[in-house]
């Protein structure tokens, strides 16, 4: 009975994902007339603007959403299991704050963008901002790894992670205070997150980096299951707690760093998706939870990307606003139902 329920659930999520993916390709600010959809699909043609919009703009954006959603959701699951805390998410390690600080230093401190409207630094943002975010995230990740290899107590580690986040945040605030409004505006926009930054040119690198991280999580499922039994028990079973937590933090941090570097700090997906997975499948087995969380993360990111680019609206809504707006009610309803 249970197996059937799981199979149906997984298939349902995959079908929903496919529908959302297709909708992502055909719905956006520019209307694609229904009869043109097949024309475009049958003949990929650079001279056709619709074809360029679908294949060169919407497709990479949908793929980015798909990969980023999966990565953040599973990174959140790892954190929640490791810290045995349902509120844990990738930002708990201070990684997003590290990325923000990196970007803050580049945008605000160097003033490389000073005096210009936001619109005018697209060129520079490509390499500079992603690289700065990645360096900031990885530096914090190494600090956390150094602490985690010395410490067994997970609560202490959470506190250290939060403190590092506050530290990075306060330096960012000081930078903001002394910056020009144009630069602050640019920084704020980066902080709202976007799935459109990857594009076709950087898709290969982004996709490979994320997929490597996603595959790595599958090898962790057994150890994660043992962790759920409690540290004492896990140690008795021969699990090296410190080594294990270093590996989990490394994988989760790596995924978060890559996504943040390319898409900005995207909140909420990492926190909320594991809860939905646990509720839907009534399971705590990571062999199931890991793929389920990834798939749900994909669906949610695709759905949010769709909402953000609603037709009839020329601009994009910031992804971060949409993820929380859509995600928060979902989590509340899931929790209410499961506690009944």
């Amino acid at each position: 009975m249970k197996n059937r329920r799981i199979t149906i659930g997984i298939i349902g999520i995959i079908i929903l994902g496919i529908i959302l993916f297709v909708l992502n390709l055909f719905v956006g600010s520019v209307m694609v007339p229904f009869e043109d959809i097949f024309k475009v699909l049958l003949k990929v043609n650079d001279d056709n603007t619709l074809s360029v919009i679908i294949f060169n703009y919407r497709l990479p954006q949908a793929l980015t959403a798909l990969l980023a959603g999966a990565a953040l959701a599973v990174a959140g699951l790892l954190m929640q299991t490791l810290f045995r805390n349902p509120l844990a998410d990738p930002s708990m390690l201070g990684i997003s704050s590290g990325a923000s600080l990196g970007v803050g230093i580049v945008i605000l401190l160097t003033g490389a963008i000073s005096g210009a409207a936001v619109s005018s630094f697209g060129w520079w943002s490509t390499i500079g901002v992603s690289l700065a975010a990645f360096i900031g995230a990885v530096l914090v990740l190494f600090v956390m790894l150094a602490f985690s290899s010395r410490m067994k107590n997970m609560t202490t580690l959470i506190i250290i992670g939060l403190m590092i986040a506050y530290l990075a945040g306060s330096i960012t605030d000081i930078l903001k205070f002394f910056s020009l409004k144009e630069d602050i505006h640019a920084f704020v926009i980066w902080g709202m997150g976007s799935f459109s930054g990857v594009g076709t040119s950087k898709m290969t690198v982004f996709a490979i980096s994320i997929i490597i991280g996603l595959i790595a999580t599958f090898f962790l499922s057994k150890n994660l299951n043992i962790l759920l039994l409690g540290e004492m028990y896990a140690e008795n079973l021969g699990l090296n707690i410190r080594k294990n937590s270093v590996v989990i933090i490394l994988v989760s941090g790596y995924l978060t760093a890559i996504v943040t570097a390319y898409c900005g700090p995207i909140a909420f997906v990492g926190l909320a998706m594991p809860h939905i997975a646990r509720f839907l499948f009534k399971s705590s087995d990571h062999r199931l939870l890991i793929p389920a969380t990834m798939l749900i993360g994909m669906d949610m990111a695709l759905f949010c990307n769709l909402i953000a680019r609603m037709p009839g609206f020329d601009g994009n809504l910031p992804i971060n606003a949409v993820t929380a707006f859509i995600g928060a009610p979902v989590v509340i309803s899931v929790i209410m139902k499961s506690k009944k």
Partner: protein, 367 residues
């Protein structure tokens, strides 16, 4: 009485008044009129109907009329000025009155050699940036006038009260006509009693601008143009009623978003820009970095760019903001700005083919 002269309509610039003619022709947010031996200045608030401030400029050498006792009075020529923006101090510099400027903001962001020298010699103080003004240094400069940049948020009057200086809003950047923006240079003339020179300066700008504009009105074909680069998937396009849209129009081109009547920038999704502007002839881009743009570099940044006709035809017009001093200088050279675009859009109109653009140049192919 006098205030009634300030009535205005934004589209027609003929602000007639029986007794006192407005001395400003092209501006929307400032009126200047003669008042006895001085001037009456009214600066309007772009965000609501209220006035942003009324000021009387009165020569220091004359006794102040009694009725002005309780008004905002600036005695001219001004002695100690704190200037928020480079568009203010650059006029002082140009007319040789820079010694009246004692403090400036955001001095790190200027490349002006003369200003850098004055800062090094401590003849001009850096007084911080707008969000964190070095209040004590400003007080110590004993300014009589602080030229500030008004924003939609309520301007800080605190610094005015602390220093006793008159806070004078310089709303130049809000003007949506290139000549309206340039005309603010005359305000510095009124403040320094150099109005004859600044009026002459401005009239020369107008005649050069208008003659270029007239040339382009007769153009056989008007190329289409769009603007800017996206950031995080969003294109911030200049509104159809903005400053740059007006220059495009006057340079004999059709701006793709000219139907839009906004003066502010519009956030537009990249795919909308692609579908509307794909076949535009020209693409105007601002470069705020210290690196030069190239077609290859742009393609690496975003592959979508390569589908635009302007990209394929190598018709991207770039302004290197820092190198050209765009924000400092272009405001008072709208005629030069216009000529750069005319040179790109209608080279046949300019007989001298070896014109070198000052701000916007056509990005050349490296290959």
């Amino acid at each position: 009485m006098l205030v009634s002269c300030g009535e205005k309509s934004n589209d027609t610039k003929n602000k007639s008044c029986a007794e006192n003619d407005n001395l400003m022709q092209y501006t929307s947010y400032i009126d200047v009129m003669h008042y006895k031996s001085g001037y009456y200045v009214n600066i309007s608030n772009p965000w609501n109907e209220k006035s942003l401030g009324e000021y009387y400029l009165y020569p220091d050498s004359l006794d102040l009329p009694d009725e002005l006792e309780n008004k905002s009075v600036i005695r001219t020529p001004v002695k100690n000025v704190v200037a928020y923006s480079s568009t203010q101090w650059s006029v002082f510099l140009e007319i040789g009155e820079i010694d009246r400027v004692k403090g400036i903001l955001e001095s790190d962001y200027t490349d002006n050699v003369e200003i850098k020298r004055l800062l090094a010699e401590k003849k001009i103080e850096d007084v911080g940036i707008e969000t964190s003004l070095k209040t004590e240094i400003v007080i110590n400069l004993h300014p009589d006038v602080i030229l500030y940049t008004p924003y939609s948020t309520v301007p800080k009057t605190e610094i005015g009260e602390l220093t006793g200086a008159v806070m004078f809003p310089f709303a130049d950047y809000l003007e949506n006509h290139p000549l309206g923006r340039a005309e603010w240079l005359k305000v510095i003339g009124f403040l320094t009693c150099r109005e004859d020179d600044t009026n002459q300066w401005f009239n020369d700008i107008v005649s050069r601008y208008e003659s270029l504009k007239t040339l382009c009105e007769n153009a056989d074909k008007r190329p289409t143009v769009f603007s800017d680069l996206p950031f995080e998937g969003q294109w911030y396009l200049p509104g159809g009623a903005s400053y740059i849209a007006q220059i495009f129009h006057d340079a004999g081109a059709d701006y793709i978003w000219s139907d839009n009547n906004s003066t502010a920038s519009l956030p537009v999704d990249a795919e909308t820009v692609l579908s509307k502007a794909r076949n535009a002839d020209f693409w105007r881009v601002m470069n705020s970095t210290n690196h030069k743009f190239s077609y290859e570099g742009l393609a690496v940044e975003n592959e979508l760019y390569t589908y635009f006709k302007a990209y394929k035809d190598r018709n991207i017009l770039v302004c290197d903001i820092r190198e050209s001093g765009y924000f400092e200088k272009s405001e008072y050279e709208p005629d030069v700005l216009l000529k750069d675009f005319v040179y790109a859009f209608h080279p046949e109109m300019l007989d001298n083919e070896d014109y070198t653009p000052k701000y916007f140049y056509r990005l050349k192919d490296e290959k």
